[in-house]
């Protein structure tokens, strides 16, 4: 087991299997909130289900609607349980904040450096604490 310290964008406690995305993902147009699956035909991991997982992704893409899709997935229980990103993406963070304000649904959003990537990519599961410590195993 190893640990990483991440920067907290939206705080919360979560744990789940890690899914490392090889390319940026737009939650709108790229993710189906009804099923939790990636549906972006241009994404190398199209078809992978993200429900209940700690999603590790370098960045978001453009669409503003990603906030709505994240909140809707939170309502349905089909979304990730945490997002660990390299580049800050306020559109994703806004979805997590509104999911909390509307439903009390906690979806931590954290930032890590590129240097932490190999450790995350090599781990199976992650547990995230309120202060942004990520335990890997």
């Amino acid at each position: 087991m190893s640990t990483l310290q991440a920067e907290v964008v939206v705080g919360g406690v979560a744990s789940g299997p890690i899914v490392v995305l090889d390319e940026a993902l737009s939650f709108w147009g790229g993710f189906d909130s009804a099923t939790g699956a990636i549906v972006d035909a241009h994404h190398p991991q199209v078809g992978v289900n993200l429900a209940g997982t700690v999603v590790v992704v370098r960045s978001g893409r453009g669409s503003s609607s990603a906030s709505s899709v994240i909140a809707e997935a939170a309502r349905l229980g089909t979304g990730p349980c945490a997002l660990v990103m390299r580049d800050a993406d306020e559109i994703i963070a806004t979805g997590a904040i509104v999911a909390d304000e509307l439903y009390g649904h906690v979806l931590p959003v954290l930032l890590i450096d590129e240097a932490a990537w190999p450790a995350l990519a090599g781990a199976q599961r992650a547990s995230i604490s309120l202060d942004g410590v990520i335990k890997l195993d």
Binding site: V9, V10, A24, S26, W28, G29, G30, S33, V39, D40, A41, H42, R58, S59, G60, R61, G62, S63, S64, S65, A66, S67, S68, V69, A71, E72, A74, R75, L76, D87, A88, D89, E90, I91, I92, A93, T94, G95, I97, V98, A99, E101, L102, Y103, V109
Partner: protein, 423 residues
């Protein structure tokens, strides 16, 4: 780094303008903290993407905001919705979904937003001035406001857009700040034929490459002819905000904060420079086209919503002919632009040409297209990027000239493809 709220902000948080505005202010402050802002700033306008229906959470949210009679504090426009209210007969989706989508639209109107229903709010007379702070959502509108108008908005998503409008406040962070608008990735175009540089088809493809290269950084595009028209800058920005998270680009000699490269870089050095050659552009064209070689079933234009200039190009290219019976042709635009198209007499010309207008929404976000065999051709990189995932079609990306000739012929016709050959 703590966020400081002024007395007026704190009054809103306490609920002096009602529970809905207090809720909105709480969202604004939490997003500001997530962005690392120290203060909030006043905005002069907002554009709302939250009116597009994605499920019951959207209704839960707007009902929460409406508590206590909340009204927007600044002029606020609304993005595309899930429904075409002017052509309701086109809708082929679920009736319950449509009813909920309509309720969401009415919810945003009840907050005092203007029912503009367009992703291109900048194609109107009253658009923000250079230096104005606004809170715009809708990725293509954000990139246009920052890059082409020189107005200032961060990349806002759904929810924060309307919360900023109801409070008149936005985080003093991100693309609102001078230093965040500095170009950091130089994208230099090389080895492209003049015929391609002079055509409308280059901008969306170049934008798609620039977005992939820049991610969420601010790219500076070098090597394009000066004073590019707005419809090309629109297509480029929309594509860059689809393949990447671009919220602003500079194009040297075309955008207002880039009279030259050094100014776009704020006198500093770029983090990275990339050369974009004809091979890279052709690779992007192939990525965008998942349906090459399939029979032609439809042609979809107007993503983002077509402008008057684009309608003029379309009407001239059609030249009094009509689309073939086997190919359905759609063009998305706003009700305001469609009204002007009608006043110019072009609506009749387009109807006779069997071109179906779609207003208030877009042909890739809601089921308005009749079922067809084969592939859909488009001149929009944004439509080509999203349509396969959203509505399950294959796409052939092509120039507007090829789109029109193919629609008329009833099968794929590629015009001037030698533009894409090496120089």
């Amino acid at each position: 780094m703590a966020l400081t709220l002024n007395d007026a902000d704190q009054a809103l948080l306490r609920g002096e303008l009602g529970d809905g505005v207090a809720f909105a202010m709480r969202v604004v402050t939490r997003v500001a903290q997530a962005m690392g802002a120290r203060d909030l700033l006043d905005i002069v306008g907002a554009h709302i993407d939250s009116c597009l229906y994605h499920g019951p959470s959207g209704l839960d949210f707007v009902r929460r905001l409406a508590q206590g009679g909340a009204q927007v504090q600044v002029p606020t426009t609304l993005n595309v919705s899930s429904l075409d209210l002017l052509h309701p007969e086109l809708y082929r989706g679920d009736a319950t979904f449509a009813a909920e989508a309509r309720e969401l639209m009415q919810g945003y109107e009840s907050l005092g937003c203007e029912p503009t229903w367009t992703c291109a709010p900048y194609q109107r007379m009253d658009r923000p001035a250079f230096g104005d702070h606004v809170a715009w959502a809708e990725s293509n509108a954000i990139v246009f406001a920052n890059s082409v108008l020189g107005a200032r908005t961060h990349r806002y998503g759904d929810f924060i857009d309307i919360c900023a409008a109801l409070t008149g406040r936005a985080p003093a962070a991100g693309l609102h700040l001078d230093e965040e608008r500095r170009g950091t990735v130089v994208c230099e175009l090389h080895g492209v034929r003049d015929a391609l540089l002079d055509s409308d088809v280059l901008a969306p493809v170049l934008g798609y490459v620039v977005g992939a290269e820049a991610g969420s950084q601010v790219p500076v595009i070098v090597g394009m002819p000066p004073a590019q028209p707005e419809h090309r800058l629109k297509a480029l920005g929309a594509a860059a905000a689809s393949s990447g998270g671009v919220g602003m680009f500079h194009m040297v000699h075309s955008t207002p904060e880039a009279p030259d490269l050094a100014t776009a870089l704020h006198g500093g050095k770029a983090h990275r420079s990339v050369v974009i050659d004809i091979d890279r552009l052709n690779q992007a064209r192939r990525e965008l086209s998942t349906g090459v070689g399939q029979p032609l079933g439809a042609v979809c234009l107007g993503t983002p919503h077509y402008s008057i200039d684009e309608f003029e190009i379309l009407v001239n290219l059609i030249g009094g002919r009509a689309a073939h019976r086997d190919v359905a042709v759609y063009v998305n635009t706003s009700r305001a632009i469609w009204n002007e198209v009608s006043l110019r007499g072009w609506a009749r010309v387009l109807t006779e040409a069997r071109v179906q207008p779609v207003t208030d929404t877009c042909s890739y976000i809601t089921p308005v297209m009749a079922p067809f065999e084969g592939t859909a051709m488009t001149d929009s990189a944004k439509w080509a990027h999203y349509a396969p995932g959203n509505i399950g079609v294959t796409v052939h990306f092509a120039s507007i000239e090829s789109c029109v000739e193919s629609a008329v012929a009833g099968h794929t016709v590629i015009v001037d493809d030698e533009r894409w050959f090496p120089q």
